[in-house]
């Protein structure tokens, strides 16, 4: 009991020991610090763009009859290769998963010019620093029969659109 009393007394004394001037100065300084940190906090979101420039992520690749079995077509600007084999139609990204260079297509593999990553014909990593396989994108068909590739929708390796 006495010790509690002492603590309380001591506490009172500590409160009394702050002069009015010190208290007001301290409050003012804390007010400055608080308001400025709120300003800073609000500004944190500023550099992150709310909208990205409108780069089309879905594009048409023609009609099914443009792709006889065994054919392939490279869409240079979209950085995508579209192939048709026995299982159907599929689209593979040509962007290297290492650091974003564009891979070159060879007969049975893809090679990245920047750091020597190599991928097999289905995009699986076979050599070099690339951390994962080339991405496969979803292929689908519009009501009018045209085919589209959606680069926002990734599908597992081997997923094909059968025609």
């Amino acid at each position: 009991m006495t010790s509690l009393q002492q603590t309380v007394n001591k506490h009172d004394m500590e409160i009394e020991s702050i002069s009015r001037r010190d208290f007001l100065t301290s409050s003012a300084m804390w007010a400055v610090a608080t308001s400025m940190s709120f300003v800073l906090f609000g500004l944190l979101r500023f550099p992150k763009p709310a909208l990205f420039p409108d780069i089309p992520k879905i594009f048409k690749i023609g009609k099914p009859e443009d792709y006889p079995p065994g054919s392939e077509k490279i869409f240079e600007e979209k950085k995508v290769i579209v192939r048709r084999d026995a299982g159907g139609l599929y689209a593979i990204s040509l962007i290297c998963t290492h650091l974003g260079c564009i891979v070159t297509k060879h007969a049975d593999k893809f090679e990245c010019p920047c750091h020597g990553s190599k991928f097999d014909v289905r995009g699986k990593v076979i050599a070099g620093p690339a951390p994962k396989a080339l991405e496969w994108f979803k292929v689908s068909q519009l009501p009018d029969g045209k085919l589209v590739v959606d680069t926002m929708k990734r599908v597992p390796i081997g997923t094909m659109y059968s025609i």
Binding site: P49, E76, L99, G100, C101, P113, P131
Partner: protein, 512 residues
């Protein structure tokens, strides 16, 4: 009569104006010169007197001044280039071409800007090595070492952001690579399967590019960083850096300096006595500051006035830098490739030479080489003065004979390890060549870069135990880093060709 005064004052304007402008008369006496140095805002970043050892040529080689001089040249030429440069995706490339072919002396100014960058980077790195090897980061100077690290990062940041501005193939693909390095923490988050929730890599990339791809937003941001933000911080921190040199007691120097060390440096008869107690030296804040002045009782004061000795040295170093830059700029043009083409990468797509060492590491693992190891290296460098607090003689290259031996052994060790590891990697490949299905997690943590790092850390701990000295351990580690930086940079510059394959000579590159 006020009218008379008025006309008298009018006539006297030239004289009174000069008097109001220069307060200490003509700098004909040592006193007037000292007062000018002290009261002029630009000159007072120097102390009025410096120790004679400061001017010893083989001590500093003037590297800090050369770095500052090249920054000054870069600022002036940069401001000039901004007159004609247009930071827009459609116009940037053409405006650089205009600067090169049409603008009067534009080509020379651009070349100077390019070469001064190279000189600045080289001198900054050498300056850091000088400060390290002469133990000038110790005691009061610890904080200034950190400022130096900040300047080092800013220097690299400035040169990198400037790299995108021409909007040519070189720029576009170097920045593609670099922005994806910023996104490379995804390698880790992908492994943990949390990229969908927390994606620090993607956030960094978006903050850098202002978009998910390189476009106008990226160019605007790089232009903003290169011309406003980074130069602003550069000037601020550079001022602090130089001011702290003065406030930390001038350049580091040994307690006992032999006469032969000071041969050929100007001297001052008045400064040959030993300083006994603080009050003899007048400090403005005497009544507020505790303790003695740092040089009390430390042998003859042995100082000389900054004006003229130091100023002449500075001007000479500036002219030397400027001269070298001009000669290089006259003979060698800054490169400009074809306009940026997002569909076709350069082959090989190489970063500027000072990043090629990192690019070699990145070709093992994007995350470790581009983010992990640089972060560890920078943190390690920054912590040096806090981990190594041994009292010792400052201001001598490699301290003494033992220091020289450790530096030499570390040099040989690091050279051998780095070359052996590169040869091994080129000849036999790495884990994925042997086990194609190996998990990326293993590659991230065990690749030639991390192996090299482990070798160096082990060596530095070996030196720590063997010599029982943190300083010698630091010398070992620092030497290893510098040596591997140089070798990796050389290797990636001369022995990496198309598809990042190894070639002995550039003439062996396949022809497209």
């Amino acid at each position: 009569m006020a009218v008379n005064d008025y006309f008298k004052n009018l006539v006297n304007i030239p004289k009174t104006f000069v008097e109001s402008f220069i307060r200490h008369g003509k700098p004909t006496s040592e006193r007037a010169r000292s007062q000018t140095v002290m009261s002029n805002i630009f000159l007072h970043i120097h102390s009025t007197r410096i120790h004679r050892y400061t001017l010893k040529k083989t001590f500093t080689f003037g590297l800090g001044i050369i770095a500052a001089a090249s920054f000054f040249i870069l600022t002036v030429t940069g401001i000039l280039l901004m007159v004609y440069y247009k930071p827009s995706v459609d116009l940037a490339y053409d405006s650089i071409k205009d600067i090169h072919y049409v603008v009067p002396s534009g080509r020379f100014i651009r070349n100077v800007h390019r070469w001064a960058t190279n000189i600045m980077i080289v001198s900054v790195i050498f300056h850091m090595a000088r400060v390290f090897y002469t133990a000038a980061y110790k005691e009061t100077r610890s904080f200034n070492w950190l400022m130096g690290m900040a300047l080092f990062v800013l220097t690299l940041g400035l040169s990198f952001t400037g790299y995108l501005l021409p909007w040519d193939q070189l720029a576009y693909w170097a920045v593609t690579i670099c922005s994806n390095i910023a996104a490379s923490p995804r390698e880790l988050t992908d492994l943990l399967g949390i990229t969908h929730f927390i994606d620090p890599g993607g956030l960094m990339k978006v903050l850098l590019l202002g978009s998910e791809e390189i476009g106008q937003d990226a160019l605007t941001r790089f232009f903003w960083l290169h011309c406003i933000v980074l130069p602003f911080f550069m000037v601020m921190i550079l001022s602090v850096h130089i001011w702290r040199v003065r406030k930390d007691g001038g350049l580091a120097r040994p307690d006992n300096i032999k006469d032969k060390d000071l041969k050929g440096i100007a001297e001052d008869e008045n400064a040959k006595h030993v300083f006994e107690n603080a009050p003899q030296k007048t400090y403005g804040l005497m009544c507020l500051v505790k303790g003695k002045s740092p040089i009390v009782g430390k042998g003859p004061e042995n100082t000389i006035p900054s004006w003229p000795s130091l100023f002449i040295t500075e001007i000479a170093l500036f002219m030397l830098t400027f001269g070298i830059v001009c000669v290089l700029a006259y003979f060698f043009d800054a490169p400009l490739k074809e306009i940026a083409n997002p569909a076709v990468p350069e082959n090989p797509a190489k970063a500027p030479w000072y990043f090629l060492g990192l690019q070699e590491l990145v070709s093992y693992s994007a995350f470790m080489g581009g983010v992990g190891i640089p972060t560890i290296a920078l943190l390690g460098l920054a912590l040096i003065p806090y981990l190594d607090r041994e009292k010792q003689t400052l201001g001598r290259w490699f301290d003494n004979r033992t220091g020289r031996r450790v530096a030499r052994n570390s040099f040989l060790y690091a050279t051998a390890v780095t070359i052996a590891l590169l040869a091994f990697t080129v000849k036999f490949g790495w884990l994925r060549n042997w086990y194609p299905d190996i998990s990326q997690a293993v590659i991230i943590f065990i690749n030639p870069g991390t192996v090299l790092l482990t070798f160096f850390v082990v060596w530095s701990f070996h030196c720590l135990y063997k010599y029982d000295s943190t300083r010698l351990s630091a010398i070992a580690l620092f030497t290893c880093f510098i040596v591997s930086f140089v070798i990796l940079t050389y290797f990636a510059t001369y022995h990496r060709g198309p598809n990042w394959h190894f070639y002995w000579l550039k003439s062996q590159w396949p022809i497209h």
